[in-house]
Amino acid sequence: DHEAIRRRSGARVRRASWKRRRSGEGVRVGSNGRASQGLSIDTSVEGFDKGRSRENERTNDRTIDRSGEEGDDERTRRRGRKRKGEGERGARRVESASRGLSIDTSFGGFDARTGVWSRGKGKMEAPTKMKEVLTGTTIIACTYDGGVILGADSRTSSGNYVANKVADKITKVCDKVYLCRSGSAAHTQAVAGYANLYLNQHAIELGDKGCSVKAAANIVKEIAYGNKAWMNAGMIIAGWDKKEKGKVFVVPLGGTLMDVPFAVGGSGSIYINAFVDRNWKPNMTKEECKSFVRKAVSLAISRDGSSGGVIRTVTVNEHEQVKEFVTGNEVPVYQDEIQSKGPPQVEFVSV
């Protein structure tokens, strides 16, 4: 829970900062300027480098709790130790998942921010060690005249290893409401599970009326925002309800909630942001929208290493919810990519 995470991370950061100061690394400033809350950060230390800290922050709106980050004087160390269940040993209790607030790994563990385990032999170098399973992904959802279409690729990667070639990243959370998942596979599956639970209860309470997409998105946002310190999940919620018809909401890292006519997410989305901005138009027909979604995902797949596999689409409107996919060899290819249609260019020689 939040309190425990803050306490534990506090100790960790403090110890890390002490160590790093010794090695001349300096202290990172939280992106929302925690220093202004009365904590003093020793900026006179050699090697203090604001630039480096900013590039280490993955996102600007992630709140990283720096309570406990002060100088390494006697009082601070004592104060840190006074917190329940902590102390110098507390910092070693790494079970991980995810506090990853520092990259000082002299005591080993899992750094959720970069998704890397380390054995604790000192600073980490290249991320060639085992990585957490991520859905480095391309996800997209658009409204059209009468409903929404969600699209996604199907590659789940764990570093360079493709854990699942045919993953389904579009999860149903409620009748006629779907969730596209990107980021950590574990986190998004957990969120989808909770959302499903709460929405089922909600649907029962509401009776005949179905769940609204807005309620589903709100629940996802509450979970994402409430656990923002350690979560790595960017999600798009889209669906159809009676009152507002087709709707798309996006909950990026950090737990904002935005009501948008279309959205893209995941690592592959950066390559198609401009394409989608330029080519989406309101009130498309279903077929137009579907081919638009497929084209966008295929463009992202062709440039993003963490996206690939099949292109899945889900069409939701008043009358139907249809799940389809475009097989791997039917996915459009561009420019100099190898054509997988037709006879193979190379003959296989039997040995």
């Binding site: 909600h202 009326k209 609204s212 807005k214 309620a215 709100n218 009152k243």
Partner: protein, 255 residues
């Protein structure tokens, strides 16, 4: 007050041999002997009206509120024991806020009244609590139109076209049944509601009273608000005039 329960009415956790829980019924009596309250759902909105006798000349008129706003789109009158009623209102306000925060939408009235009914019912399950001596007469206007719900002390909650609780409710109910509420606008219904309330008084003539009215309708922009003073006064005066005309023995009518 002896006899009816004869020993089975000493605790809310005791059933009588006929299967009644007397304490809960007695709580209902607190509502039945309370101030007359009426709720009607019209074509374009819902109205709540409570008729309060003037308890003392020294009290400022309008200071003992009986009708409360629970959310922008929901309001509530609490006949019966007022302090118990305020407890229900407070809980309803929390429910509305929690629902909005968690689901993003305003709470549907059916959900709210179910939750209030469960809340009232919970008080009848434990020996160390007493049932609340107040009902919740809820008026709202959401996507499905205007609603009037009554959540009673025993934990049931029903939706009504029009309902009266408190003293003289039988007479008022009979009057309401004669009306075609679905065809009336709120303004028209206001006068009728005032008329019902005034008529049912057993008249000592000298006692002063005050009718507190609130509505939620298209005219009030679908927000639950007190009926504006001029509209309220107009309705009350029109009601009084009608009663005087109808009644041959005008001496029995209070001023």
């Amino acid at each position: 007050m002896s006899g009816a329960g004869s020993g089975y009415d000493l605790s809310v956790t005791t059933f009588s041999p006929e299967g009644r829980v007397f304490q809960v019924e007695y709580a209902g009596k607190a509502v039945d002997n309370g101030v007359p309250s009426v709720g009607v759902a019209c074509k374009d909105g819902a109205i709540l009206a409570v008729e309060k006798p003037e308890e003392t000349k020294m009290m400022l008129p309008g200071s003992n509120r009986r009708i409360f706003t629970v959310a922008k789109h929901v309001g509530m009158a609490v006949p019966g024991k007022l302090p118990d009623g305020r407890q229900i209102v407070s809980r309803a306000q929390q429910e509305c806020e929690n629902y909005k925060r968690f689901y993003g939408n305003t709470i549907p009235t059916k959900v709210l009244s179910d939750r209030l009914a469960n809340y009232c019912h919970a008080f009848s399950l434990y020996w160390h609590l007493r049932p609340l001596g107040s009902a919740a007469l809820t008026a709202s206007y959401d996507d499905n139109g205007p609603h009037i719900y009554l959540s009673e002390t025993n934990g049931v909650s029903y939706r009504y076209y029009g309902i009266a609780v408190g003293k003289g409710r039988q007479g008022i109910k009979t009057e309401l049944e004669r009306l075609k509420l679905g065809n009336m606008t709120c303004r028209e219904a206001l006068k009728t509601v005032c008329k019902c309330l005034i008529k049912q008084r057993d008249d000592q003539g000298s006692k002063k009273f005050e009718i507190e009215m609130a509505w939620i309708c298209d005219e009030s922009d679908r927000q639950f608000v007190r009926v504006p003073e001029d509209v309220a006064k107009e309705a009350e005066d029109a009601a009084k005039r009608e009663i005087e005309q109808e009644d041959e023995d005008s001496s029995d009518m209070e001023s």
